[in-house]
Amino acid sequence: MIDKIFLSLFTPSRSRPEDLEVIFVQRHGILADAVERVKESATTGNKHHLLFVGPRGTGKTHLVTLLVHRLDKDVSLDNKLRIAWLNEDETSTTLLEFLQRIYLALNKRHEDEFDKKSFDAIFDFQPEEAKRYIIQLLLEKLQEYTLLVIVENIDTLFEELGKSGQQDLRAFIQENPVFSFVSTAQKIIDDISKRKNTFFGFFQTEQLKNLSIHEATELLRKISIINNQQDLASFLQSDTGRSRILALYHISGGNHRIYIALSKFITHDSINMLVDLFAKMIDKMTPYYQERIRWLAPQQRKIIEYLCACERPVPVKAIAKRLFATHQSISSQLNDLRKKGYVQANQRGRESLYEIAEPLMRICVEVKENQTNDPLRILIDFLRIWYDGRELSMRLQECNSMSVEQAYLKSAIDKNLMHGNLRVQLMAAEFRAEISDNQNSQSDVRITVDVVVEALLYRGIAHGKLGESEKEIADYSVVIDLADASADAVAEALISRGIAYGKLGELNKTITDCSAVIDLTDVPVEAVAKAFINRGITYGKLGESEKEIADYSAVIDLADTFVETVAEAFINRGIAYGKLGELNKTITDCSVVIDLTDVSVEIVARALFYRGIAYGKLKKLKKAITDCSVVIDLKGASMDIVARALFYRGITYRKLGKSEREITDYSGVINLKDAAPVEIVARALLYRGNRKLGESEATITDYSAIIDLKDAPVETVAEARLYRGTTYGKLGESEKAITDYSAVIDLKDAAPVEIVARALLYRGITCGKLGESEKIITDCSAVIDLKDAPVDAVAGACLYRGTTYGKLGESEKAITDFSTVIDLTDAPVDIIAEVFFYRGITYRIQNNLEKSEKDFKAVISLENTLIPIRVDAYLFLAEIYMSDGRWDFAILMIDNGLREERNSHDTYSGDSTNIIDVFFKSTFIPRIRQERIRMLVKVYEDNNAIAQLSGALIKHLGVLFTSGEDLPASDNLELWASAWEDTFNNIDESKLPLRIFRTGIDFLKSNGKDHSILLDLNQEEVKILKQAMAL
């Protein structure tokens, strides 16, 4: 897994710092602090000296590399700081040699400033003079810079320098306070920690800890991310991933370097592959460990070799006995080995037990001793953690007999049988360590299995509350697998795990866990009842109502169950019956609970509530209201159930048409605020908002409250935004409306598709009103393409897109959209009427009168269509008939249209301008004109629509004036005016329009040039005429 980027195992400074940054774990605080301290050293007279202590492989060089990287990147330090990062493999036994290393390190990074030539002159001097020379040279070159000296393994340097060298160095630093040191060491050495020694207290020491299991996981996760292995990152979160991390952790002892080396194994399932990889890894790591052991003093080496051979932690006296040494000398050596990170101590009473800190170190001794190709203990243990018991047996069956793999698997199974399941032991130990860490150090509580189990169960619950289901499940699983956990605890863990699986949607696993509890012997009846109830709930979710009801019935039949549990079973069974439509059974079951005397108020309240709902569904609304009212007044009932009852009663009042009470109930829910479930409060606000239509401000307030409500369900928020958007739209606040619609649209899949579709449609329409045709087409197209969008939204989108295309002159596209709606099944009738209407107009524009006539007739034939559409359809039909000479039909259509107009409550008036225009052009013969004018005036007069006719007459003058064609001849105009005057003069209502009409005619006769003609009219009349003629 680490092949994709280069991460040097042994020399992190050779890896790219950017990569090292990405995989950096655990020490962010330490690094940031070090950077700050070096910065302060560079910018003030305070000079900090830092020392990072940790065994090999704990990431010291990684840390230092990042420190240098961050300092390099900080441009504010360019003129303040120089860094000498010393090569750790060089030796200096005197201050002179040490200063040479510093200069050469500076030369490597800043060749121009610290030139080689000046340095080479040093060799012309005797040592003492040379020292003085190089000190002077360094100080001269440094000028105002602070020098950061990085010394890795400063313990080695101090050893090389000896006491007098150290004294020289310290005096040099004291006399020249321009240095800041960042150093590393494998352990705290006396040179630094003992007060009598030269460098006592000189460094700010930071002990670097090994990785915890969580940090190790984080490290692997980051490596997987930098390698772009998302699948691996998810795998690490799984149960299997977790146990494998544990296996690696156990083998590596939390040492960073070893952990990275081992991480290659993480995704390997195959036993063959594992054994092979392990063998290769051992080959690679053995020299490293051998070198580490060789590095030790003989006595310490012997201790390590002995501990490597031991299976368990051993007391000091056993080691002393074995090595023929005194207790005191072994104890002091062990103390030193512990500081170096080779061993770790565990306390048992007053005794300290020691073991190898990194189990992998055993491979050295084992490989050396193992001449017979017997399975390696370390790999056996590794497999015991890698696979759970079931997997080990399964893989053994799949193995070839006599194979190496078989030998390993068999050994692992045997060892588990003999010593217990190592995987489970480690998981429990890990947890035990965690709770031990968390305990007050003064506390003397013995951590028994019961304590561990209890803590695991609590932690599981806590993980669950934090939504960390994987971790929750893992904790319960440890309890379930613990051999010495009690049956009660196992049952509790199984039930809890089942519920946790349920939250993840893994319902079959829930059923398996609950069934396991039901099948367990020696568990309390209450646990069995709980398992039945949870299994029942799960069956319910799977739609298996019969099994669900059977499980609840089983609880009801169980002897010695708590009455509350039985009551819960009754209520749940009642609800299940309800889902099957057997509402009377719901009422019966809930009534049983309501009549129980020794159950809690809450249980009774729930039973009442669900019975109320059942009554509601059976249309027994008053009983529903009664039950809900009892819940609302029930002392001691939770606000949760009270809120639900209030809300449901509000809905029921609505059905009874009692709006005021309805709104009062919604307000009741809303006033409960945090005490009520947020989803109910949100719905109540929404419903109240919807019920206050006409009170825009109040409506907006309610919708806004939902939007601001923390944790409100996203679908309710989406609805609130949609409705608020439409309210804003009605108030003409288009921008606010668009913002709300856009917010809904941005929710995408999180919001219900019908809400998103409407938001798109309304946004499109609002944009259309602002003249942004492109946006309406985009939004409507989005609705049309939206999967599962409701048919009315799609129909609306086609209608609006079609009309937009129409306005843009793209008639064919418009007709296609309108036809789409007509072909849709279940499209709302008002939209169908509109599309027929607009398609009719489009055909009319295309001069396809036949299709146009058909569509307008279709509009008229539809029932329950809007009056304006119908009126206009009649007028269009009249126009068509008039244009092809079917004068009588035209008059009939006008008559029908005007009648509908007159009979409706609508204030709509159709526009007859086109009719006048067609009439004007249809004939020039004065007699016929006069005759037809009489007919027209009559039909308009009969329908009380003279105003509409005279208005059309004036508007028609505008049509003539603005058509762009030549104006009609003066005699034509004069004849037209006289014909109308003859008829209109007899009608009082038309006298005023007639005067305006006459002035307009005279104006047109002057070719539209003599504006003085308009002075015949008063100001108001001029205004009307000018408006009509677009003057």
Partner: protein, 396 residues
């Protein structure tokens, strides 16, 4: 300003040392000085302040002597300082250079090359030292300036010389320096010796070798004490703020830090650094918690074990039990204890029955900063922090 236990402090940030520095300058008008204080109490910072901000008329020359391991190295180092100093004023260490020339040293193009003393058994360190100081005095007289040698870590150098060249050379060096002070004191020559090992212990060990002189009794002992409460609190406040530690009770937290640290700047820095590392809020309770952790830490980050371990070295195995008994008794007592009371206790314990020896031990315990006396002459721990640790570590 960030906590910086062990590092060098920006002189502008030093707090609470003005009084002792004034006292030093006032004393130097009359005589030389020795400063004895525990390690990491801030001696070197005081030396740096004396050097960088001298009182008018004084010309300090500062050297850290732990880097010199023989008397000759020391003498040459003094010569170099003097020569370097004079050359800045276009003068030269004439007498010393003449001496070197007579011994085979040469000057080439203004650079003086010292003769090699590698093969000689008896090096002329005394002459070099004396001539260097004479050169300095001579020139200073002309300039109307007073020379001041600020020598840090004198006991370390003496230990090294004793080890490398024998007790005699160490004794001679002390005597030579005293001689120079006596001869040139009236010409304004002054020395300041500082050291973390008490000079009295070095001289005591030399006395065992029949050294009868009192080479430093002309130098006034000025103790460097921990900071007074006010500056200690000021330092704590600065560091809490500098580290950006969250606190809503800055004043209270700084007060507790100043109190529990006994005003030791080193511990104040440590406490604040530990507080920063813990990520805890700066509250009085958390300060207490951190101090307790440090005192109980098996790794002994403040190396307080030193106060126990050095007893056999400083007081000899002969008196180890008596010293432990004295300290144990005083630790558990709620009030200061009289000499008579302590003598009774020591007699009962069977560890000491000689009153004079007890008085001598108490005197040294006082010099070594374990104990101090009240107006009645009764003894109690000088530093409550040390008493607290003693109690914890001794299981009392």
């Amino acid at each position: 300003m960030k906590a910086n236990p062990g590092g060098q402090i920006d002189l502008r940030e030093v707090v609470g040392r003005d009084k002792v520095i004034e006292q030093i300058w006032d004393t130097l008008e009359q005589q030389s000085i020795r400063i004895n204080a525990e390690r990491r109490i801030g001696k070197t910072t005081i030396i740096r302040k004396l050097c960088d901000e001298p009182r008018s008329g004084w010309v300090p020359i500062s050297q850290d002597l732990e880097q010199y391991h023989t008397a000759l190295e020391f003498a040459i180092a003094v010569f170099r300082q003097v020569d370097g100093f004079l050359s800045l004023r276009r003068r030269t260490a004439r007498r010393t250079k003449e001496l070197f020339t007579s011994l085979g040293g040469i000057e080439v193009k203004g650079v003086f090359k010292l003769p090699s003393f590698l093969n000689s058994n008896e090096t002329p360190w005394k002459e070099i030292l004396s001539n260097s100081i004479l050169d300095l005095i001579g020139e200073k007289d002309k300039q109307n300036e007073r020379p001041l040698f600020l020598w840090d870590e004198v006991p370390y150098m003496l230990e090294s010389i004793k080890k490398n060249e024998g007790e005699n050379v160490a004794m001679e060096l002390l005597d030579t320096l005293r001689g120079l002070r006596q001869t040139h004191g009236r010409n304004g020559l002054r020395m300041v010796f500082t050291g973390s090992i008490g000079l009295h212990h070095v001289i005591k060990s030399l006395k065992r070798q029949n050294y009868a002189n009192a080479p430093i009794n002309d130098m006034l002992l000025i103790p460097v004490l921990p900071l007074d409460f006010k500056p200690a609190k000021e330092l704590a406040t600065k560091l809490i703020q500098g580290e950006g530690i969250q606190t809503s009770v800055l004043d209270e937290a700084a007060t507790v830090v100043a109190n529990v640290s006994d005003g030791f700047p080193f511990y104040i820095h440590h406490i604040i650094k530990a507080m920063k590392q813990s990520g805890w809020e700066g509250t009085p309770d958390n300060v207490e918690q951190i101090v307790l952790q440090q005192l109980k830490d098996a790794n002994d980050p403040w190396e307080l074990n030193h106060y126990r371990d050095r007893i056999s070295v400083y007081y000899g195995e002969e008196f180890e039990s008596a010293v432990l008994e004295i300290l144990d008794e005083i630790t558990v007592s709620s009030e200061a204890l009289s000499i008579n009371y302590l003598l009774t206790k020591l007699k009962n314990a069977g560890v000491l029955d000689n009153r004079d020896q007890l008085i001598e031990l108490l005197k040294i315990l006082e010099q070594d900063h374990y104990l101090t006396r009240n107006n009645l002459g009764h003894y109690y721990f000088q530093f409550p922090l040390l008493q607290r640790w003693w109690k914890l570590s001794r299981g009392l």
